[in-house]
Symmetry: D2
Subunit: 312 residues, 4 copies
């Protein structure tokens, strides 16, 4: 079932994706394989080169999220096994001896550069920009050439390299967080923790205006709350959509299992992406009416009806 | 298990309720027990004096229907095992030798009398009215006294007694039909026929405006159509309601069973009244998406997800 | 506008319907016209013989309620203008000098008689029954003949006639209440009181299983609660239904008006029966989100969007 | 009202965003202002430097889409006035005289580079990568230095510069399309065309599981179909969401206006982003029941009810 000691991530060392992988206890001390993009990372998993891959799923500054969602919708036998949040913080770093007043040219990944525009305009209004291939390559370039005087990089870069922080938290959005998921292959599900999430991708049966409501009723009638709901054009025809859905709870919870069966019956195509612990470890809240015992009791009740036993 | 050869019905011989019982093949040649009202009929069943009782459930001209619904909601262990429709037709009958022009006084049950008002005003504008205790007692009274010249009764009365029809179809509503149900005790359910009905009574969890919608979604999300929906105040507190519901299909149908479990989980109190063949024998229509196999397939799918098997 | 000083009711003097009419301040001191049934009462209104008629709409012991609902659905230009509750209490009455131990034969309307069965079986197990045309005619018959020794009647009968109470509250259901409505013609609506009710009858567009849900969503999306919901077969074809609906609030309330327009657009046929004060005078409860000002603000907002003004 | 002859877009000349702007007839012959990111583009509009800005809203390869959505949710008085689709096609271009076999180093924007991975692995397995700040800067760099032998760029680049196409359609996803919107300030709405779209951003009242359903019912009860539905965390507290919604139709359509008022009443915060012609010019389909006349008729009906006129 794949190399038990290899994990793939969007590299190189120092990226936000690597920071997400650093949160995975099982990955500690294993082989970490740096790759160039999401496609390569998922290939590693399906081919067995890696046991799992860390990929950005929401709000990424390191690559397209809709590409990730489309990949999960089209590559079979993948399974999300964990969720991780990384605060997106940018720092301006330089070689020792360089002061902020010395900075004229900055090396930065174009997406990171765009996200620090306000700070740069206020503090370095006349600087030049040299692009890099990643948020780490920008910093490493400072050792290879002196074209740039400073680089935009994750702040932890200074723990690994002989660089100094010229400024911290220079991103425009101080609350930016990227959500990552660890993706493995079809295999045993992570045990429920009480603070779990279940991800699916489901197509609507057709374009009639009530179809989406019926899909969502599969969850609401079982008391299951959704934390993500995103339409994506299917692409094979105009006006057809699939929905990327994160539901509170684990497929081992009766209410989630029942909702998933409802979705399976309703939807022409549904992909189960996994049940896994939430990054924020916040226990799932739901009303008592949808407790496991209530589902079990209802099944017992139905069984007794069908068998013709007197009601309790 | 009750006297296997006794059936109770609202008598006496000749009522519409007896006509309903005459439609029951199993009751042919058995002991038919005539009772005075619904309460007595259901008592016969719960006490074991009768194997089943025929009672009006909708549009009755022989007694209150809401009393029937309330009785079914409060007496445990009853089960509807069949549904029957009887066309409500009234005739004006008299002793041999009496002509319409001889009629000055009419004996009639007050409810039947009210339903023939238009015909009476047009044809006998100056008649008098003597009330009777039933739609049959009116006709029988003609043999006991000559206070009345004619009686309002079901037309079949002339098959059993020496009476003649003075006028047929004298009711104001030519399409009037009463719906009856045959009620027995908790026992083996009638086998599904493909043209079945399932009856329940369910309370709403509370008075919030969305509760009824959530109850109905339990049916709509499984593609189950309703043919009866009736609110009834519960009576123990202001503003609380229960609903009398007839759903298309049999509890042995996967979609109905799943909907009932959903109702059981949602509703603080639900009473299963039975699954039984529809009186009109019209096959239940539903979209393929809610076929038994779809439910079985969804269960298999869920089982494979949980066991960690690769998806087909 | 009809005879301004005549009100019709199901008579004769002393019925529960008359007790309902006695609750109407406007009817005090006017001409009260006693009629024989609901059809006659509504005819009085449409023909202009009466300004209004009192009729039972739920739980009646004096006539069929579904007939009332069907009449309201088919006779145009009627309008409910008030709602009244009457406690259904039965008494056993007799001429002066008669004791309970003297009673062998009882005169009673068949429906009332059926509702006192438990008391009669316990206290007069061997009595005979003579039927009457109404709950009052039973008592009056005691003055015309001595065939019966006592009668079942509303307890207030002793206020009008020289009769004595042998027993009170002899009905099986101690909490029985009949709901009446006062029906007039299309005309100015009663002013809102904050404790109002709006009644309609609406057909569903077709038999698809989601149609009822869509009808109810017209109310729930405006925060309007329902206190009555009753399916009735339309009668012109199998499987088509109309719904009798009581909604909390007055058509002068923005949320009710908006819901009614939604129903009008959705339903192939909708009949507005009126907005009128609730019998229980309980103020309508609803969440602030559906207050009149919210509707007005939303209209202003839309108007500013359409006119291209900047948002506030 | 801003400089009437300036339009902002993500530059430089040759980007996909510029290709979107080239589809706008009103922009032809006007001043086109090239900016570095979405924030700058929207600043141009709010400050009045530009009359409108073209920005990517879905599936962009030139910048984050969630940043765009968040900007539209937080900057007041913006209005979408048009929608445009641009096929995302990448080409490999080089200076004249360079053949594919000569290519060892490629200049490319990191996001574009990631999307051409498959073709590059198959055709140039051993190449090196130099990053650029944009999909156009990559090509222009070929004139400034000979570090790179070829560049990844939009194919139209060869119309403007002395470059040759070494390979076309080298992107992994042959059907990739980016959706752009033209954003102006609050002002007169574009006239309805019958093929329109209305965009809003709405917050849910709270986290209860039925809130989203109620939001969507505001559309479904008026027969309005949605083509985009996307949850976004609000960011001020855990578990609160807003939804980015594209609805079929124009706010001048009665059903859309009525749905928007419903959303306004329901949602604690709703932002109207505009009504504008769909890029695909596909006429909006809806059932007759939701036609403008039906809304007008319902208003007339309600008005006559309230005024006490007899029903037609």
């Amino acid at each position: 079932m794949g190399m038990p000691d290899t994990y793939s991530y969007l590299g190189p060392t120092g990226t936000f994706t690597e920071a997400a992988l650093a949160q995975v206890p099982e990955a500690a001390g294993k082989n970490w394989r740096s790759v160039n993009n999401v496609g390569e990372a998922l290939d590693d998993v399906t081919s067995g080169r890696s046991v799992a891959a860390m990929i950005a799923i929401e709000n990424s500054v390191e690559g397209g999220v809709s590409a990730t969602q489309d990949a999960l919708a089209s590559i079979p036998n993948l399974r999300i096994i964990g969720e991780y949040l990384v605060k997106v913080q940018f720092a301006l770093v330089a070689r020792p001896g360089i002061e902020l007043s010395d900075v004229h040219v900055i090396n930065a990944h174009p997406v990171a550069y765009a996200q620090c525009r306000n700070w740069l305009e206020a503090n370095l209004p006349t600087h030049g920009h040299i692009p890099s291939t990643s948020n780490v390559a920008s910093a490493l370039s400072l050792f290879d050439s002196d074209l740039a005087d400073a680089a935009i990089a994750p702040p932890r870069i200074v723990e690994h390299h002989d660089l100094r922080l010229l400024a911290e938290n220079i991103g425009d959005n101080q609350n930016a967080v990227t959500r990552f998921v660890l993706v493995g292959r079809n295999s045993a599900l992570p045990a429920p923790t009480g603070a779990d999430k279940t991800s699916i991708i489901a197509e609507l049966p057709d374009d009639r205006s009530g179809a989406l409501l019926e899909l969502l009723e599969q969850f609401s009638t079982r008391g299951v709350n959704l934390s993500l709901l995103q339409s994506r054009p299917i692409g094979d025809a105009l006006g057809r959509y699939r929905f990327v859905i994160d539901a509170d709870g684990h497929v081992f919870d009766e209410r989630v299992a029942d909702a998933l069966m409802g979705v399976r019956r309703f939807s022409p195509k549904v992909i189960f992406l996994g049940s896994y612990p939430r990054a924020d470890r916040a226990p799932v809240e739901y009303v008592d009416r949808y407790d496991d015992e209530v589902f079990i009791e209802a099944r017992d009740w139905l069984r007794s009806l069908i068998s013709g036993e007197p009601e309790a």
